[in-house]
């Protein structure tokens, strides 16, 4: 069987497994939007702050579900991979002629497919509730591409956690860590309006801020080359680091098995 076919079958298995567990796809579709509703309802008055970059808090906050959805996809897929290790599926797979790279590619392919569906859903909901992209239809397409790239980058770290630990609990414990990165960022207010200095410094050092700001710029500003370069650059860098480390972890895992 060719490498492409191996990747296809493992990717398909990954997607089907997620679809068969409704909690794994309903929650990521609903929860980020529920949180967006609560935050926009509660913080819409913040648009009255001098210097706030948009009249609409919904438009400002639309980047949030893309990032939180990526976290959900990452953790769910990572947990599935860890379960494969715990149940011995990976051991059995190691006895077949399958190439180890196909496992990682198939796993990440599944994460990407789910991430793409989520991104489409968030975009659709955003448009339905009246958000207009300052960058136009092309901007919405770029948001979609960036969201998928972010899912890929985060997914590679989820795979790394699963391959390094082989424990579903350990992958689950990643979620709070990701959550910290999400909350200590510019998700609620632009960095220049964050009053508490240490928080502003932490948000400026946090790569998640730049991922959010890249998506946000396309929604509320138009084409901001600096924000896009930072967003895409960080997402690509995270993907390269995550992919390299998870490939090494996979090699070690296969050697152990």
């Amino acid at each position: 069987m060719s490498l492409a076919a191996q990747v296809f079958y493992l990717g398909r298995r990954s997607v089907i497994r997620i679809l068969r567990q409704p909690a794994n796809w309903i929650f990521p579709l609903v929860f980020p939007l529920a949180l967006m509703a609560v935050n926009t309802g509660g913080l819409h008055a913040a648009t009255n702050l001098p210097g706030f970059p948009s009249d609409s808090f919904v438009a400002f906050f639309l980047a949030f579900p893309f990032i939180q959805g990526a976290l959900f996809a990452t953790v769910n897929a990572g947990v599935d991979l860890a379960r494969d290790i715990q149940t011995g599926f990976l051991n059995r797979l190691a006895l077949t002629p399958m190439r180890s790279g196909a496992l990682l590619a198939g796993h990440l392919g599944g994460v990407l497919a789910v991430g793409a569906l989520q991104a489409l859903w968030y975009l659709t909901v955003g448009l339905v509730i009246g958000v207009r992209f300052e960058s136009g239809a092309a901007g919405a397409l770029v948001v979609f591409l960036l969201a998928v790239l972010i899912v890929f980058a985060f997914g590679s770290f989820g795979a790394l956690a699963a391959l390094r630990t082989g424990s579903t609990e350990a992958v689950h414990s990643l979620f709070p860590l990701f959550f910290v990165f999400l909350f200590i960022s510019s998700m609620n207010l632009p960095r220049n309006l964050i009053e508490t200095e240490w928080f502003r410094v932490a948000a400026s050092l946090n790569p998640v801020s730049y991922l959010i700001e890249a998506i946000r710029s396309l929604v509320i500003e138009g084409w901001n080359a600096e924000a896009l370069a930072l967003g895409f650059g960080i997402a690509i860098a995270l993907a390269i680091v995550g992919l390299t480390l998870s490939s090494l972890a996979l090699r070690g895992r296969m050697a152990r098995t």
Partner: protein, 257 residues
């Protein structure tokens, strides 16, 4: 009565021992409220400048009250997870055989949840004061604030206990958490009710958590309002959820633990 208390004492001691001797149970309970406090009070302090926002003792105190009530509710909910674990391990089945009065089991978990929250509330208060939170209320006001939070803690535990005793599986986790989460966040979390978006304001007015939250905030500001109504509401909720939990206990008994 003595038989109830002896069972309750044993269950509470076991619950607290497990909680304080297992870092994976203890740390999230302590860290999450601190994290929310940091993210909300630190990241959103500029909301204090939104036109129409008036809270005399500052945004840190405004958020402290929310996080205090949230930590109280979730200490109850997380204790509910412990109840489910006891069902899955078969411990409750043995406990039911041994307990002379099984209502003591629910009471024991109630004491356990309270003990767990007291530690969290102490750490949260110390951190809040250390970062310069202003307090306008006197000792009586603060006592009333913490008493209100204790009642919220009881509500959280009794709700989760009722769910745990009916479903007796860890898969019930989202059913325990989600309604509590929604009740807490469909309240004036970030700004006073008057500054909420219209749709959220309507929901917040129907949500009893709003009354508890606003009273709590008035107590810390030293300008107590609606205290009797808030306590009456909280006591009524405890009564309703007590019936829910005890009926759950009867269902668990009928199912053979």
């Amino acid at each position: 009565m003595r038989s109830i208390l002896s069972v309750a004492g044993a269950v509470a001691w076991r619950m607290l021992h497990n909680n304080f001797s297992t870092p994976s149970l203890l740390i999230p309970g302590l860290v999450f409220p601190l994290f929310f406090f940091t993210a909300f009070a630190g990241g959103l302090s500029r909301v204090n400048d939104v036109p129409g926002f008036q809270f005399p003792v500052g945004y840190t105190a405004f958020q402290f009250v929310f996080v205090l009530l949230q930590s109280a509710a979730f200490a109850g909910v997380f204790t509910g997870f412990g109840i489910v674990r006891d069902f899955e391990s078969g411990f409750i089945r043995r406990l039911m055989l041994a307990a002379p009065d099984r209502r003591g089991i629910v009471l024991g978990y109630l004491f356990g949840a309270l003990g767990r929250w007291i530690v969290t509330a102490t750490v949260l208060t110390i951190v809040a004061v250390a970062v310069g939170m202003q307090i306008g209320g006197n000792g009586v006001d603060l006592f009333a604030l913490y008493a209100l939070a204790v009642l919220v803690n009881f509500c959280g535990l009794l709700w989760a206990s009722g769910v745990a005793m009916r479903l007796r599986t860890l898969q019930a986790g989202p059913i325990m958490q989600l309604p509590v989460f929604l009740c807490l966040f469909f309240a004036p979390v970030f700004v006073p009710v008057a500054l909420l978006a219209h749709w959220l304001r309507v929901i917040a007015h129907l949500n009893p958590v709003t009354l508890l939250l606003e009273t709590g905030r008035s107590l810390i500001a030293g300008d107590a309002t609606h205290v009797a109504a808030a306590f009456a509401t909280a006591v009524a909720l405890v009564g309703v959820f007590s019936v829910w939990a005890l009926r759950g206990l009867r269902k668990a008994e009928a199912a053979g633990g």
